[in-house]
Symmetry: C2
Subunit: 303 residues, 2 copies
């Protein structure tokens, strides 16, 4: 039922940092990314080329890319909202993968980027095609794939249509975001079973769960059982979404790695090294974080 190995993308430096109210100095971001890049993680999303007046926290995207020191074999991705962002990203360089994003929910997409889903999807297609033309890999992430805080139910059929469009444009990976933690294990199992049937093996399917209601790792187990082999997570459980207020963020990379390795599923990641990075960001931010393993420590089997 469970696979021998899975892929994990660390999204803390982008998804986590962008939700921090105080701007983190570039040097600190670089230090933390360099730590993460030496944990065994093979995919890291390091920043986003959004407009600086929209997300001031990530205004230093070029500087971050210029200063990080990432070993060979670690894929570096950046989030890009549109063609202008792609132009900036391509001028900067220093990464191999471009991720674009769109919400499955019309209302959430308008709240998030002030466009219709159809408009965002066209922008995504242009970003993917542009990235591919530049010799880069491209992926897309679909927010509110399992439910929308404004609209409620989001139909899987519509989500998978968007995924098919992204794949047709050249995305080699599509991520499904549970942006406000509305997914449950039964829904996740059904969704990924259907996604694998409809999208086949043409595109890698990635789960992006939030731990909003404590179900993050339970949803991972359900996704694993339905064939999902790729996950996004954030060290320290950073990140999340302003809705609902006060809720925790993405699943914590260290909690994900702890669970998977205990299950005999190889992540390639050294748990102690991720814990060191999470402890470093906790010290930097000066507050306790949502991560559990960061508090409890790894399991000591006394072997």
């Amino acid at each position: 039922m469970f696979p021998h190995s899975v892929a994990i993308r660390e999204v803390g430096p982008r998804d986590g940092f962008q939700n921090e109210p105080e701007v983190i100095p570039t040097a600190e971001k670089v230090r933390l990314i360099d730590m993460l890049a030496r944990t065994g993680l093979r995919r890291i999303e390091v920043t986003s080329f959004v407009r600086a007046d929209v997300i001031a926290q990530l205004a230093d995207a070029e500087a971050v890319l210029a200063q990080i020191d990432v070993p060979d074999g670690v894929s570096v991705s950046v989030l890009v909202p549109n063609e202008r962002g792609l132009e900036r990203a391509l001028a900067a360089g220093g990464f191999d993968t471009v991720s674009c994003f769109v919400s499955a929910s019309e209302t959430h997409n308008r709240h998030n980027v002030g466009r219709s889903v159809a408009e965002s999807l066209i922008a995504c297609e242009r970003v993917i095609e542009g990235a591919r033309s530049a010799g880069l890999s491209a992926g897309g992430v679909i927010a509110t794939s399992f439910g929308c805080p404004y609209e409620g139910v989001v139909e899987a059929g519509g989500v998978l249509e968007i995924a098919a469009r992204l794949a047709a444009a050249g995305a080699t990976e599509v991520g499904f975001g549970d942006t406000t933690g509305m997914a449950n294990p039964l829904a996740v199992a059904g969704f990924f079973t259907r996604a694998a049937q409809e999208l086949g093996s043409s595109v890698e399917l990635t789960a992006h769960f939030h731990n909003t209601r404590g179900q993050g790792l339970a949803n991972v187990v359900a996704a694993l059982g339905a064939g999902c082999r790729s996950f996004e997570s954030s060290f320290g459980e950073l990140g999340g979404c302003p809705v609902p207020a006060g809720a925790t963020g993405n699943i914590a990379t260290e909690d994900l790695v702890c669970m998977l390795e205990e299950m005999g599923i190889s992540t390639g990641v050294a748990l102690e090294s991720v814990l060191a990075a999470a402890a470093a960001v906790r010290a930097l931010l000066g507050r306790s974080l949502g991560s559990h393993t960061l508090v409890a420590g790894p399991i000591d089997w006394r072997r």
Copy 2:
């Protein structure tokens, strides 16, 4: 794969309160238990008859039992460590079920109660037989069933031998405690599959998970898939274990109810009512708790 309904025992008033450093006034305990008893929960563990010099927090066991007002149909259980505790409990009355406990790990049992596992097991058998003779139901809980912080690996075979002894003595329910959060979904699935095979339908099998490393609800999903239909949890995610230091406690009742009801598995529990009880205990304790749904609120499907 998943059942239509499960049974939940709320253990916060015992397992949660006993871990609180400041003694909670009896009237506050009674108020919270009375709230919990009106949520739809059909099983509540309300106190323990341990020695007052060991756990001062629960020294008011008789008073709690005398003052609570629990509707018909809600089972009230008390934890009892030995025959002396049973005598006190029987003299007090006001409950229908007695739970005894033993660790699967020799070292943990000695740390916990200063006895060998064999000695504790004999005490459990006497408690179970005494409770049954008094016309009560009896159950046993086996701590460190999935791993021990002192010894590491705990063999399932030994745990199931203890469970068989408890069942033979007359226990109608045996709980398996993941006392310090060492279980993972693969181990849990294997354990409950084997437990059902070896113990059959003669005894109800209950899972008692902690959220120490964030895997609590993931372990619930694994246990559900392996046939487990009975769970223990604690409102607000109260409780836990002093090892490892600072770690969170039992899985939160409100997180468990939220997940199960979202999966279409009936708990009989009104989520909003449990959230009100968890909010009340948070206000009483004056600190944030580990519960996720208490922060995020129920999912709003806009229906």
